[in-house]
């Protein structure tokens, strides 16, 4: 695989260190007027989520990571395996509960998600930013209680719970921000 040299370093670069894929989240160029340049970088391990600091000097290079982002449709869940399909290639991918991480809360059958592949294997998946989910269970709200900021937990079709305003009822369709878990609004069918 190709490599990137220090002059190409920038935020967002996908590289490989010790076999693991990393995202360069910061790269600061530091150079004394007459001395050698240093590239002080922060890199996030895309498998583990850990961040490391590395300092490079001019002319150093890092191996590029074979990272591809595809659109994949969630097909179904079978115990702890989540099965997706790339609609353009029909290739199926299985992700474990660990790999799916928090995304399980938003996955509805048929939902098209962004999936990151490293060397052709899936490492993470992200649902769309806003997801509409049906409320399956919640305590009834007290009528007239609309002026205050009170929220109650609402369980949705995926089995996840989200804090929602008191007026939300069972059967309602709610829009949630999948990046934060925040209630946005109720939607019509």
């Amino acid at each position: 695989m190709a490599s990137y040299n220090t002059s190409e370093f920038r935020k967002g670069l996908k590289v490989q260190l010790d076999g693991d894929p990393y995202l360069m989240i910061e790269c600061n160029f530091v150079k004394p007027g007459k001395g050698q340049a240093l590239y002080k970088c922060k890199l996030r391990n895309l498998l583990r989520g850990t961040v490391l600091d590395r300092t490079y000097k001019s002319g150093d290079s890092i191996e590029a990571a074979d990272i591809e982002e595809i659109q994949a449709q969630f097909l179904y869940r079978q115990q702890d395996q989540f099965v997706f399909m790339d609609n353009s290639t029909y290739e199926q991918y299985e992700l474990s509960k660990d790999q799916v991480d928090e995304a399980w809360k938003y996955l509805k059958e048929g939902m098209v998600c962004s999936m990151m592949l490293f060397n052709g294997s899936p490492i993470s998946v992200a649902p769309p930013n806003h997801v509409v989910l049906k409320v399956e269970y919640c305590e009834p709200g007290v009528r007239g209680n609309t002026a205050t900021n009170v929220t109650k937990p609402c369980k949705v079709e995926t089995g996840a719970e989200f804090p929602c305003p008191a007026f939300v009822e069972v059967g309602d369709l709610i829009k949630i921000d999948s990046r934060t878990g925040e209630y946005i609004e109720r939607v019509k069918e």
């Binding site: 160029f29 007027g33 007459k34 050698q36 600091d53 490079y56 000097k57 002319g59 150093d60």
Partner: protein, 327 residues
């Protein structure tokens, strides 16, 4: 000024307020030198000559279509031409101009930047430092600079004598101080280790609340400065630091062309070892030095960084109308 649409890189990066402050500071620079009897000069940005430095990469420009194309260079500083003026009889000159350095882009760097550079014949290094301190005070209002030798600073913040410690001791010192070194930094690269320790452990401590001028650099880092024999030999080179940021670099200027030729050859050998192309070692500056350069001290100041400090901007690009990415 009229309000303008928010987005799009056709727009300037710097705010109008920053550009106004920048213009005021430019005016103050000119006032400072005018009052002291300096002549403002303008010398070419594009030249057949360039400095030969291990760590500076000039932009090359190809000129002359049709016939044999010539390779010219955008200046990394106006040094060469300004020294040619000194050799021709100038005594106190200054210039506000653009310098260009390939590959230098970051929070404190833009490949094209504004340099204020000045020379005064007869000045010793101490007199040059005094003038630099006065300009710094005039522009930033943080008081006169405190002077500290490179050796003293290293002793204080690193616990080693940079002129006499073995390179292995510098390497060990970096490790003990928890300095993250590039894996590829060769253990014999003494200047590389000195630069690393300076950048990581000394520099951040300098220049708050008052400016600091560091002087008497290691002889190996003399660039175009005189070396005072010692022992230990030290380069008559000095730098101004404010709030951990390097603002200016000055020399009690080297006048011996034979020494400059040696340094050029050495620097090209280092460039080659680093996998970089060599740069032309001959220049009209050398011809001027053969003819005779008067004793002088000169300084180059990064003007954009001065503006950054004056307005409190966190990044250089915030004081430049169109930084490199939207030039």
């Amino acid at each position: 000024m009229a309000a303008s649409p928010q987005h799009g890189d056709h727009l300037p990066r710097a705010s109008w307020e920053n550009l106004r402050r920048r213009a005021e500071l430019l005016s103050r620079v000119r006032e400072f030198f005018h009052r002291r009897g300096f002549l403002e000069v303008e010398t070419p940005l594009l030249s057949a000559d360039t400095v030969v430095d291990r760590h500076l990469d000039p932009f090359s420009v190809s000129a002359g279509g049709g016939r044999e194309p010539r390779q010219l260079w955008l200046q990394t500083s106006p040094e060469f031409c300004m020294k040619r003026l000194l050799a021709a009889g100038a005594t106190a000159i200054y210039q506000v101009t653009r310098a260009f350095r390939q590959g230098e882009q970051g929070p404190l760097h833009n490949p094209e930047f504004t340099m204020v550079e000045w020379y005064r014949t007869g000045d010793t290094m101490a007199e040059g430092m005094q003038l630099l301190s006065e300009l710094g005070e005039w522009l930033l209002g943080r008081g006169p600079a405190q002077c500290l030798s490179y050796g003293e600073a290293f002793q204080h913040y690193v616990g080693l004598d940079p002129h006499t410690a073995a390179t292995a001791a510098l390497v060990e010192g970096a490790s003990l101080l928890g300095v993250a070194a590039p894996a590829s930094l060769a253990t014999e690269d003494r200047d590389g280790w000195l630069d690393l320790l300076l950048a990581e452990r000394v520099q951040p401590q300098l220049g708050s609340p008052r400016p600091v001028i560091l002087y008497d650099y290691p002889a190996s880092q003399a660039a175009l400065a005189q070396v005072r024999p010692g022992p230990p030999p030290v380069a008559e080179r000095f730098e101004l630091y404010v709030s951990g940021m390097e603002l200016a670099n000055g020399y009690h200027e080297l006048v011996d062309p034979a020494v400059l030729r040696q340094r050029n050859a050495w620097n090209n050998a280092c460039r080659q070892a680093d996998g970089k192309p060599p740069l032309p070692e001959e220049s009209r500056l050398l011809a001027a030095m053969e003819a005779g350069l008067p004793s002088a001290t000169g300084v180059a100041l990064g003007f954009d960084r001065v503006v950054m400090l004056a307005v409190g901007a966190p990044r250089l690009e915030e004081v430049i109308a169109f930084p490199f990415d939207r030039a």
